[in-house]
């Protein structure tokens, strides 16, 4: 019997070890893929006459997918254990935080990539300017004019992005993800605070609401009293 239990324990340890090893491998692979791709694109861009090769949508999409897959699939999988037993609710809250975090990470990556787009587009605009000048035979742009030219292009690109449907969707997604992760984290923290016999933020808010409503009632009653006093005088 004891031998059987030891075997089971050993098997469990092996499973945990395998999962951890697999996760580490995934992180290593992801980093290595990212590094290889960046080096390849760097080399390509350095030998190219144009900037376009460095900023392909495909490359960014691939990188984003690698990252999201890692966060969503690999990291979250480690915590996909059905919660049971008396500590179930704590387990559930922990899982909720991890899932919310994974969603937040994904939404933020998407949002940051989107925010980076005007930056890339503005560099391409600058390149376009050089090409145009070259075509009409004007040749060079004085160095002192480069910065204002670029800032104008960047501002224009940001304004275009900010008015797009795509940006609004990404912004709302990122904000929703931030609020979800904050709420999930607060749920977990409340248990910790309760265990220390401290009032939770939720309990404090209830108290503040009561004080707020009481103050309003006192103000109304004071006003009423003043009016009555005024009438009798």
């Amino acid at each position: 019997m004891r031998e059987k239990q030891t075997r089971v324990r050993k098997k469990k340890e092996a499973v945990t070890e395998d999962a951890a090893q697999q996760m580490m491998r995934e992180v290593g692979d992801l980093w290595s893929r990212f590094f290889r791709e960046q080096m390849a694109s760097f080399g390509k861009a350095a030998s190219s006459d144009t900037l376009e090769s460095f900023f392909t949508e495909e490359r960014k999409g691939r990188l984003k997918n690698h990252w999201q897959n890692f966060i969503r699939e690999e990291m979250a999988r480690c915590f996909q254990v059905t919660p049971i037993g008396p500590l179930r609710q704590y387990q559930e809250k922990t899982i909720r935080v991890i899932r919310a975090f994974a969603e937040w990470e994904t939404a933020c990556t998407e949002f940051c990539l989107l925010l980076n787009r005007p930056m890339e587009a503005s560099f391409l605009d600058m390149e376009g300017e050089f090409l145009k000048k070259g075509r009409i035979g004007k040749g060079d742009i004085p160095s002192k004019d480069l910065f204002p030219l670029w800032i104008d292009a960047l501002e224009r690109r940001y304004m275009d992005l900010y008015r797009s449907e795509e940006f609004m969707t990404a912004l709302n997604k990122a904000l929703n993800a931030v609020t979800s992760v904050t709420k999930a984290r607060e749920g977990l923290m409340e248990d910790l605070i309760k265990s220390l016999h401290l009032p939770t933020p939720h309990e404090m808010d209830e108290l503040y609401r009561e004080i707020y409503l009481l103050k309003k009632r006192v103000e109304t009653l004071e006003g009423e009293l003043k009016r009555r006093h005024g009438r009798t005088q």
Binding site: K133, L146, Y162, L175, D205, Y208, Y212
Partner: protein, 373 residues
């Protein structure tokens, strides 16, 4: 010189070189920032004459002869601090008003804490603002005050003037949104589909840092990149550095905004646009802009990216007063108070306008203000 045959990296290097001027220039940063700079803000002398919860009422020491009869009450926004109106001695709206002969009071909204999260716009307008006005009326034994509002503080002042026209002699608003249904400003666009309930459930009061990030994001090219590049370019110019540090000190000193006030502002104003349609209610009382029958002077900035002219200018059309005037200044949202050009235009214009309507000397040949026909 940059040209067609340069590689992207050569251009980038050239660009970076130009941005920082030279390495020696950048090396000066630690020594310049390590010095003691005169970067104090809000230095015009004042006394606190009234306090309630988190709010304080500042009374500025008068300068010279009083030339405007009724005291002016300044109502600043809930975002950032009122010190912006008194950033430095030569760029101070407060000083401009004092030197013009006005008696000046200003509400300092303080720093909201978690216990302030249930305060609504009603608590600010019908509560704090009204009690402050009552205090000034009692103190000077006068029936009315001159009210001047800045940004959201201006929107609150419009609400107040509509609810209590008998207590307001003249109303001055600056960069104060009243028409929220416009696509000109990005905030107006973004707020339309903004999940304010979710944000408040998560945070309670809206954190100042969150708002700062939002404002910077509105124009990263100018507010993040160009601004700091200009700073680097002028790092050896001490007056420039001190002005920059004052502005920096003010702009990132952002108190949180009470949750319920923010919720009501986003929903009633940005999403439902109730104010301009005379459908907004505070504590059950409808705000009817036609009840604003006192003279109104309404300022806005032509290049304001936060509150565009389209959000401010319609006020004059909607009020009941026959003495309303729009003034567009060629500047942005903050520039109207702090740019050296606007200093010569903004406060002197208010003083002139107030003197014409409420001067110690009897106004000559001026038509009295009355309601629109």
């Amino acid at each position: 010189m940059a040209g067609l045959n340069d590689s992207p990296f050569r251009l980038m290097a050239d660009f970076l070189h130009q941005s920082g001027k030279d390495l020696e220039h950048l090396m000066n940063i630690p020594s310049v920032l390590g010095q003691d700079h005169r970067a104090e803000i809000g230095e015009t002398p004042f006394k606190i004459v009234y306090e309630e919860d988190r709010i304080r009422l500042k009374h500025y020491t008068p300068v010279g002869r009083r030339r405007i009869k009724t005291p002016v009450l300044l109502v600043y926004a809930l975002i950032n601090r009122e010190t912006m109106l008194d950033l430095q001695p030569d760029r101070s709206v407060i000083r401009g008003l004092l030197e013009g002969g006005a008696e000046v009071y200003m509400i300092d909204w303080g720093t909201p804490t978690r216990k302030d999260r249930f305060l609504t716009i009603d608590d600010h307008v019908n509560g704090y603002m009204d009690r402050v006005v009552e205090f000034i009326r009692d103190r000077h034994a006068i029936p009315k005050v001159n009210l001047m509002g800045v940004c959201i503080g201006g929107t609150f002042s419009v609400m107040y003037a509509a609810l209590y026209p008998e207590k307001v002699r003249n109303l001055v608003t600056s960069v104060s949104p009243v028409q929220f249904d416009t696509n000109k400003g990005l905030l107006h666009l973004w707020m339309k589909h903004f999940d304010v309930d979710g944000l408040i459930d998560a945070y309670g009061n809206i954190p100042g840092d969150f708002l700062n990030f939002g404002f910077l994001m509105l124009n990263p090219a100018r507010l993040v990149i160009e601004k700091y590049k200009n700073f680097l370019d002028n790092i050896e110019d001490i007056p420039f550095v001190e002005n920059f540090l004052r502005m920096e000190k003010w702009i990132f000193d952002s108190p949180d905004v009470p949750a319920e006030t923010f919720r009501q502002y986003v929903k009633d104003c940005y999403q439902e646009n109730l104010l301009i349609r005379n459908r907004m209610k505070l504590n059950g009382k409808r705000i009817d802009l036609r009840r604003i029958t006192m003279p109104v002077l309404n300022f806005y900035g032509r290049y304001d990216h936060l509150v565009p002219p389209e959000a401010c200018a319609p006020l004059i059309e909607e009020i009941g007063s026959g003495d309303g005037e729009n003034v567009c200044i060629d500047t942005g949202h903050i520039g109207i108070y702090v740019s050296s050009k606007a200093q010569k235009e903004f406060a002197p214009r208010i003083v002139r306008w107030l003197r014409e309507r409420d001067g110690m000397e009897k106004a000559k040949g001026r038509k009295s203000a009355g309601p629109k026909r």
